[in-house]
């Protein structure tokens, strides 16, 4: 196995008395596609909040590209190349679509891009995602699918090595799901590693090379999609005793 891109080592996170993550480890190779699944409240979102820096883990360590980032604030992690989308889209509402992309370009990716070409960069990304027509639209007027795409486009504009996609397909139609999957595949081909959190099993199974299953704050299974489908522990977690 090559040196991991991301190495989450035994992290723990609790809220008051409630333990959301209990001694969970995850690792990810460069360019790998990882699915993260589990029932509601199993700790998926807490996990990615800890990885992206929105929350700080209580115990354990997070190493990214060989560097311990456990104590780094979220913006520093974004600058190192960790980008995420949000389950409920969080666009910058007072800005246009293209302005939304300029924020990560000017902050997260600032040291890694050509400052003179920043607008072209943004346009390129919009084109790749299929939002170029809407570049100057106010992002409050977007449809659901466009909003999801904007989430991804903005994460992309941060020039990540690791993209965490948090339920980017929830509530979309079957064709729209395929459209988003296509985008994520192209992205990955460009060398970006992806962690996908998803409830739509069809999508996760198709996309992931490897899947990690969380339940009640613990990792209960890990392996290629086919193995996971037949894992009795996973079945129990999803269907109950």
């Amino acid at each position: 196995m090559s040196a991991p891109l991301l190495d989450v080592r035994n992290i723990t996170k609790s809220f008051g008395g409630f333990v959301a993550l209990n001694d969970v480890s995850i690792h990810l190779a460069p360019g790998e596609r990882l699915g993260l699944i589990g029932p509601n409240g199993s700790g998926k979102t807490t996990m990615i909040n800890c990885v992206s820096g929105a929350l700080f883990n209580d115990g354990g360590a997070i190493v990214f590209e060989g560097r311990d980032i456990t104590k780094l604030p979220a913006y520093r992690r974004a600058r190192l190349g960790i980008a995420r989308s949000f389950q409920i889209p969080k666009p910058f509402r007072s800005m246009t679509v293209i302005e939304n992309l300029l924020v990560p370009l000017e902050f997260a990716a600032w040291t890694r891009i050509d400052h003179g070409r920043i607008n072209e960069e943004a346009f390129d990304i919009l084109e790749r995602i299929g939002l170029a027509d809407l570049a100057h639209k106010n992002c409050g007027d977007l449809t659901q699918i466009d909003m999801r795409k904007l989430e991804l486009a903005r994460a992309l504009a941060a020039r990540p090595n690791l993209l965490i996609s948090d339920e980017a397909m929830a509530g979309l139609s079957s064709e729209e799901v395929d459209e988003v999957l296509e985008i994520l595949f192209t992205l990955n081909e460009g060398g970006v590693a992806v962690i996908m959190i998803e409830h739509i099993m069809r999508a996760v199974m198709r996309y992931s090379e490897r899947i990690v299953v969380l339940d009640a704050g613990r990792k209960i299974a890990e392996g290629p999609p086919d193995d996971i489908v037949h894992n009795p522990d996973v079945e129990r977690a999803y269907l109950g005793e």
Binding site: A54, Y75, A78, P91, F92, V103, F107, A158
Partner: protein, 323 residues
């Protein structure tokens, strides 16, 4: 030199000309009050409008500025520019400290702590005998007013310079890369942080700048009013205006508070000498609520909406059926 600086120089020269050409001090006293409002509004907006963190303690910063000025004037008899710089520095540090302690929390906690801080400061100054405490302090207007005809003209020009500085800084902030970060914070702080915006640092920069300009606005106040006591320095009216002016003008752009301050300030100065009564105060309150509920973008927002509509209706016939 951009158009903004040309404009600013123009305003400054016009101010100078005004002091030279007009003898009637009334305009300078009124102008001073309006400029004071303008600086406070701009300062408030640097934090409140750009990042969405509401400061209820504007009067606290203002009063500390005024009292630093009283204390240093009594202790060392420093000239006005030094007093202004000192007040700006102290209040800037105060903004930084408050920000550091509370800006990591949700905005509402910041709002409440500024409120609490204003009261703590009022208590401290009320008990600070050196600057007169609750009995207040007299500051006699200096005899020397440089080459101006009277001291109030000098004060007016000083305020004009501070106002230009405050507006220029606000404009710089909002048009720079930092400004984009601030807007992102206002729209969604978590998303901003995850997009690489150093939110805490930017908020601290805004809080410090807010403090600096509020302190500077307060520094000349004792000279303007000659007698300052905690009740007049910590006046609710100052806090209300500092919030109402940006909200009426528009919080999202640097010129919003300027427009709000000019309109509200002028209205207040005019009503004072025409129809003053409680009704007058009521109008301020009702207009404020009206703007907040009906036109959350303020006057600037209204104008933008209006011109966008006009643009659309003009463009519609020629571009009909294109899309």
């Amino acid at each position: 030199m951009g158009r903004f600086w040309l404009g600013a120089t123009g305003v400054f020269m016009a101010g100078l000309l005004f002091t030279g050409a007009v003898d009637n001090e009334f305009y300078f006293f009124s102008g001073y009050v309006i400029l004071q409002g303008l600086i406070m509004a701009t300062a408030w907006n640097i934090l409140g409008g750009f990042t969405g963190y509401v400061n209820f303690g504007s009067a606290g910063f203002f009063a500390v500025g005024a009292y630093i000025s009283v204390a240093l004037h009594q202790a060392l008899a420093l000239p006005l520019p030094f007093l202004i710089l000192a007040s700006g520095m102290v209040c800037g540090l105060m903004g930084l400290a408050t920000g550091y302690l509370t800006l990591r929390l949700k905005g509402i906690y910041f709002a409440i702590s500024t409120l609490a801080m204003a009261i703590v400061l009022e208590t401290v100054i009320t008990n600070w005998e050196y600057v007169g405490g609750a009995s207040g302090a007299y500051i006699l207007t200096p005899k020397d007013s440089l080459f101006f005809a009277s001291y109030v003209e000098l004060l007016f020009m000083v305020m004009l310079i501070i106002a230009i500085a405050a507006v220029a800084f606000a404009r710089y902030l909002s048009t720079s890369r930092t400004g984009k970060g601030l807007t992102a914070i206002r729209d969604d702080e978590l998303a901003a942080e995850c997009m690489g915006v150093p939110t805490l640092r930017l908020k601290l920069v805004s809080a410090t700048a807010m403090g600096v300009f509020m302190g500077m606005a307060g520094a000349p106040f004792p000279f303007f009013i000659t007698f300052v006591d905690p009740l007049s320095a910590f006046s609710l009216f100052i806090a209300v205006n500092a919030i109402a002016m940006p909200l009426i003008g528009g919080t999202k752009v640097w010129y919003g508070p300027v427009i709000g301050a000019l309109i509200l300030g002028l209205t207040q100065e005019i009503t004072t000498v025409t129809i003053s009564s409680e009704l007058n105060l009521l109008i301020v309150g009702v207009v404020l609520i009206g703007f907040i509920t009906l036109a959350p973008g303020g006057i600037v927002g209204l104008v933008q909406d209006f011109s966008r509509k006009r643009l659309r209706s003009k463009a519609a016939p020629s571009a009909g059926g294109d899309r």
